[in-house]
Amino acid sequence: MNLLDLLIALPAAGFLAALLIPRSSENGVRMLALGLSVAIFLLSLGLVGPVSAAGGGRHFETNVPWVEAPSIRYHVGIDGLSLWLIVLSTLLTPVCVLISWRYIDKRVKEYYAFLLLLECGMIGVFASLDLFLFYVFWEVTLVPMYFLIGIWGHDRRIYATVKFFLYTMAGSVLMLAAIIYLYTRTGTFDYTVIQSLLATGRLTLSHAEQAPLFWAFFVAFAIKVPLWPLHTWLPDAHVEAPTAGSVMLASVMLKMGTYGIMRFCLPLFGNAAREFAPWIVACSLIGIIVGALVAMVQPNMKKLVAYSSVSHLGFVVLGIFSFNQPGLDGAAYQMLNHGISTGALFMLVGMLYERRHSLEIASYGGVASVAPKLTALFMITTLASIGLPVLNNFVGEFLVLQGAALANFNWAVYAATGVILSACYMLWMFQRAFLGETPEAVRRHVGDINMREMAAMAPMVILMVWMGVWTQTFLGSIGAANARILEQSKVNVEYQVREATPAASGAQGVHGGN
């Protein structure tokens, strides 16, 4: 049992432990959740050194059989891409525990139990190297989130949580069909084995196979991302979820979708991915622009941030389907950035809600004069979110735009309008909520943030700056992982011919045979 296994096992143990604590000792559950999640975070930092130092390749691998036949293995391991998403998950769990400390006052023990179960599922998703195991963890995250939204959410929580569950489930059953189909072709669920079969040419997926398999995987992931036009569950789920639910959803669970695309869709079905890339890029560009425009007219803060997520995640998908190093690096970096800055935005909106009990922008105004520290944090987060240089989003957006421009310059032009629009809606919200006259209700209810909230926000703000300045901390290992993914995505691809000689692409009429 190495460090990675421990990171998967500890939250699961915490889930059981939290369920066993007597209902009366609410603070006991809170302390357990906080202590355990902080410990898990500190342990997860132990992953960083070895993975960063070694560059590409897989680390912390464990590969033991789980079910004999059909052969399902507990096979986990991480590379630079999974590493940082795991660290993001382990960081946000204690943060979420902190921001829920006072807000969650009913069924406390179930709440923290589900939060820990969610953490287990998320780490498992990013660590799985067995397709079946991946699917199991993927579905396991669904259950705690279903309850987090359904029990502790706002007024329309039931509608939102059922919609969330069904959307995800509908997408993932198709992925399951594709996974089983791959098994019938290869006799294994082990992703590394399938990859080596592909790389050595012992497995070739014909065009007729690749297209449906690609879509079965991609739709499951695109729903999670969510890619326009499959995004409609997201605003509902975000608005109705409790703050920690929104943070987990936006910061980590959406990344499960983009991670899945990078980890599985590109390497396994590189051919189909390239073939359908124009359509997918079109969807992501529409998502970037429509998400931003819709965000602009939202009167509700959480909804605004939710639609901004649709726009931001459009960037990630655009970067992935640019099929070049800067595009993939930007996409991976943007996944982390969005996790930090949008997570922070949801936390700050949640703090406002706990004070004023409203999410309407119109209920606020002049918060700056009564809560200067909160305002300052909101300002930094806003600036990070709109991509101000020196802060984190700038780096990711720049790389994505660079990658998109290398693939097709027009893509970068359209995507860049999304950056401009994001400045409009974010700054406009900031102006309406934080500046100007201070209404009586705001003056009475909105106080500045306390030490606990500061402790939750501090790592987020530090990371915004760190990720904006010392990018090599992260990009080194991410780049190495992405280079491998890019390399794998060129196996079993008829388009190699076209890429090698772009000028001749028109003349290359024969792509059909394999």
Partner: protein, 489 residues
Amino acid sequence: MATSFAFPSAQEYIRFLPEMILIAAGTLSMALEGLAGDGHRRGTAFLAILAILAASAGAVYAGANPGPAFSDFLIIDGFATFFRLLILTVGALSVLCSASYFTREEADSGEYYALILYSLAGQCILATANELIMVFLGLEISSIATYILAGYLRNDARNNESAIKYFLLGSFATAFLLYGVAWIYGITGTTNLSGIRAAMAEPAVASAPWIVGGAAALLFVGFAFKVSAAPFQAWTPDVYQGAAAPVTAFMSAGPKAAAFAVFIRVFLTGFHGMGDRWEPVVWASALATMVIGNFAALTQQNIKRMLAYSSIAHAGYVLVAVTAHSKVGTEAAMFYLAAYAFMNIGAFAIISHFARKGEKYVRVDDLAGLAARQPVTAALFTVYLLSLIGVPLTAGFFGKFYIFKAALDSNLIWLTVLGLLNSAVAAYYYLRILVVMYFHEPGEAVESATPASFGTQVVLWGSAAAILALGFFPSLLLDFARQSATLMR
């Protein structure tokens, strides 16, 4: 066919041990009922449990001595042993959650347990039948006992409706089956499954596929009715809703598993040679069964009726495995029926307990806020529901996984895709129960709920433990199914 009469050997009686134990215990409890006074009724439930345990031991012992019995009328192979044990487990769980229910309804009597034991005996015969006359006998023994069980609370109008519907439609379906048996005998001159299989290959029979097809179709009607497969599923919701909840639990798991056992045995041995002909029929029936079950369940307000439609849908999943008509498909069907028995009986045990006298609280909305008042019961129900949905780490998930894997192995791509989409639709109505239990404020029904009796608790914890154990370690059961899935011909 046996040409000369010979007394059966001791070995053959041993192979018939479980049925003999069940029949003897059933008759004994009827007799004791007359002798004992009102105060000793608990004794019959205890006797029934003991008889089922003894029969299970007998089934294991018989399974260790595989082979035919009584001039090839019965065959005891791994397949039969698997289903015998499954049926007996279902029987034990049903008895455990019946006792407190019928005490509450003031209808606790020995004949109930006798009927359960007779029904189990019939189902065990079905699981071992190697001969169409035995199939018919087993089916009738099982069905007649079950018809009476469905109407067991004879002063209750819904019970009467349930029994009469079940009886009339069931007899009609059995008539089809019997007519099919007659055709088969007319064509092949035998009712023995191996004999039929051999006769099918003969040129005279093989040249007239439509007559054989007609006979197979008549048998299919009979079996489809018993497993509630479309288009013969219409009786299920009314009967399941009307019968007493523990009886419904029993009906939806026991007789159904037995009917599937014989369905698989007849079609995979007798009619194996013409698999390509019946595959499209079962394909269409499987799809229709899943769609009708799942979509009709979406709008149900009564939990028993919802679970009745859900049981139709689950029969559809098993039919997908039958459509695959391969060894892998048989394994998958066996695993699934076992998984389904645990999750369904768990769910019905909660309903049996929760419904109160006269089944007052059987609407979905009555469960409102159960999690707030009885968190443990709600958590156990959640395990069953997640398993019914097919969420990973539950038995239901591996069941679905094996079935759709078998389907893809047999190249049934569309049936797999449509079946999996169906299981996503199904999530909606199971989630509704979760929504009501966890997200609504407690209502009157929950506030007045009492803790479950000991027998019910055993069923609840046992089912949940089995579901989770199979969800983490499916090999525990799958290995057994795999060794047993080879049909002895």
